[in-house]
């Protein structure tokens, strides 16, 4: 599998993508480019649909408008078999790890190899041990997923994601909920895997410092738009208020601390319902209806 075969410089291109969930527009006409061999990060506050973007790239969700090209092919026009063939060349690291809980670490890493290849067991063993060695968990091969710490589970999932030697890896919040040591290990691992395996990495994250440390290019998303893009240096020097608020972690700014609501004083003083209502619960009926619908 040649990982640098196309004449194009970008492995993944997203053009004019629009996607909504119910009434809410998650993405509003955004375009992103992901260069081959580079680590590109997508950052933004929680709830801006960063994970959704990965699912769109992986073909698990369909966009309303626009298209996603991976390796020169439109993901959403592929037939099922073609999509599956493409996915074999994509690794995805889920936030939870998504390890199969009824199998040992060893079998989890062997799982894609056993499903997709007819390699003899001795070959699978060598491959699995190599992948586990790469993430430093060769000694943990006989543990079950519930015996692993969060950081270890994510590293096993990473070993599984690289089992089929993919051309790219999608990382969904790889640093969230990690202690500083395993965070450091993961940062190092992502960086070194990208270099040694010639991968293209897409990281979705809101951990500013870790991500800026390894990313070659960063997109900052907010409210369905790209509010900033550039190399980590360019991003930290960005003049955009959005980007500044996000990078510095300011509580208030263009992204408000308060969820949209009416005036605070109005809300307190002119309540629609009496403060001590006669009925036990003001919304009893609707609450009940919700429960059964």
């Amino acid at each position: 599998m040649d990982n640098v075969d196309s004449t194009e410089n970008n492995l993944v291109s997203v053009h004019n993508l629009t996607f909504s969930r119910g009434e809410k527009k998650i993405f509003d006409d955004i375009s992103l480019e992901f260069e081959r061999g580079k680590i590109t990060a997508i950052m933004g506050p929680s709830g801006t649909g960063k994970t959704t973007l990965l699912k769109l790239i992986g073909g698990q969700l369909f966009p309303e408008r626009g298209n996603v090209m991976v390796n020169g092919r439109n993901v959403h026009h592929l037939k099922r078999a073609e999509l599956y063939a493409l996915r074999k060349r994509m690794g995805m690291l889920f936030q939870s790890g998504a390890l199969l809980t009824d199998m040992t670490v060893y079998n989890n890493v062997a799982f894609p190899l056993r499903e997709h290849t007819t390699l003899p067991e001795s070959m699978i063993r060598s491959l699995v041990l190599m992948k586990l060695e790469a993430v430093g968990l060769r000694g943990a091969r006989d543990l079950m997923p519930n015996e692993l710490s969060g950081g270890m589970a994510r590293r096993v999932a990473l070993a599984r994601a690289i089992a089929l030697d993919p051309m790219m890896i999608l990382y969904d919040e790889p640093f969230t909920g990690q202690d500083p040591i395993s965070m450091g290990a993961l940062v190092l691992l992502i960086k070194s895997l990208n270099a040694t395996l010639g991968l293209t990495s897409i990281i979705v994250s809101h951990d500013v410092h870790e991500t800026s440390a390894i990313a070659d290019y960063i997109y900052v998303l907010a409210d369905g738009k790209i509010v900033g893009q550039g190399t980590p240096q360019e991003i930290t020097q960005s003049s955009s208020e959005w980007v500044q608020q996000f990078m510095n972690g300011a509580a208030d700014g263009p992204v408000h601390f308060h969820y949209p609501a009416k005036e605070y004083m109005d809300d307190l003083l002119h309540s629609e319902k009496p403060l001590f209502p006669r009925s036990r619960l003001p919304d009893d009926r609707t609450a009940k209806r919700k429960r059964y619908s």
Partner: protein, 259 residues
């Protein structure tokens, strides 16, 4: 007005759910071919769905048979017809109680476990992760479980009936003094292989199909949160019970109507 809106919305919701369930069933059935190629996946599920339900089926079957023996004896002895106790116990078990009670127990024991398992796999992104590894979760996870449920149900129902008949015999001839030979010979002479036994097996096949389908669909369709999975598990047991009892009436009317 509010009421009609609610009525319309919930009717529409249940029809779309039925549509999703039917589509899901088609996918399960088209995934069955790949299960046959890999019998190992099936064996593992046969163990967890079938073999692990063994104990509850045997114990329940024994007690249901013993109660039938008691009740049957009290009623039949009024007419001096205790000798036909074997017929009564066997006919009610093979025709009705075997398939129905075994299916209800199966829904409670194995169906709820299937729903919870699939629902949790969905909640922990295992199904989604498999899809991203280019492995179809329907073929790899759902279809083997479906086939296992479908195959186990008739076996468990037959086991239930068989143990029940022994239970009836224990009470009838062991405790209450019905003639042992009469118990067995009357049963053999009266029960028909096609009318009684085959029809009972057909029932349990239908129940196995429906219960496995409901259990797997509820798990696959569950809202991926703790509350969502718990509600899906409840729905599995409730919906399976309704379907089993409703279908039992329809099947009975169709099978035994002419006599």
């Amino acid at each position: 007005m509010e009421f009609f809106r609610y009525l319309g919305a919930s009717t529409r919701a249940s029809f779309t759910k039925l549509g999703r369930a039917s589509y899901f069933l088609i996918e399960i059935l088209s995934g069955l071919a790949s299960v046959i190629v890999r019998p190992r996946l099936l064996l593992k599920q046969l163990h967890s769905v079938g073999v692990l339900s063994f104990l509850i089926i045997v114990i329940s079957g024994l007690f249901v048979g013993m109660v039938l023996g008691l009740q049957g004896f009290y009623i039949l002895s009024r007419f001096g017809a205790e000798e036909t106790l074997g017929v009564m116990v066997a006919a009610s078990l093979v025709r009705e109680l075997g398939p129905v009670v075994a299916a209800l127990l199966f829904a409670g024991r194995a169906g709820s476990a299937l729903t919870a398992e699939i629902g949790l796999m969905k909640a922990t992104e295992q199904l989604s992760g498999m899809e991203m590894m280019a492995i179809d979760p329907i073929k790899r996870i759902i279809s083997p479980r479906f086939l296992a449920g479908f195959l186990s149900m008739p076996l468990l129902a037959s086991l239930f009936s068989a143990v029940g008949i022994i239970g009836g015999q224990l009470v009838g001839s062991g405790l209450l003094g019905v003639d042992d030979g009469a118990y067995w010979s009357q049963m053999q002479a009266t029960l028909d292989f096609k009318d009684d036994i085959i029809n009972g097996i057909i029932k349990s096949v239908v129940f196995g199909f429906v219960t496995s389908w409901i259990a797997l669909f509820e798990g696959y369709d569950a809202i991926p949160t703790a509350e969502g999975v718990s509600r899906a598990t409840t729905r599995t047991v409730v919906n399976s019970a309704f379907s089993i009892l409703g279908l039992d009436f329809i099947l009975t009317a169709l099978m035994f109507g002419e006599h």
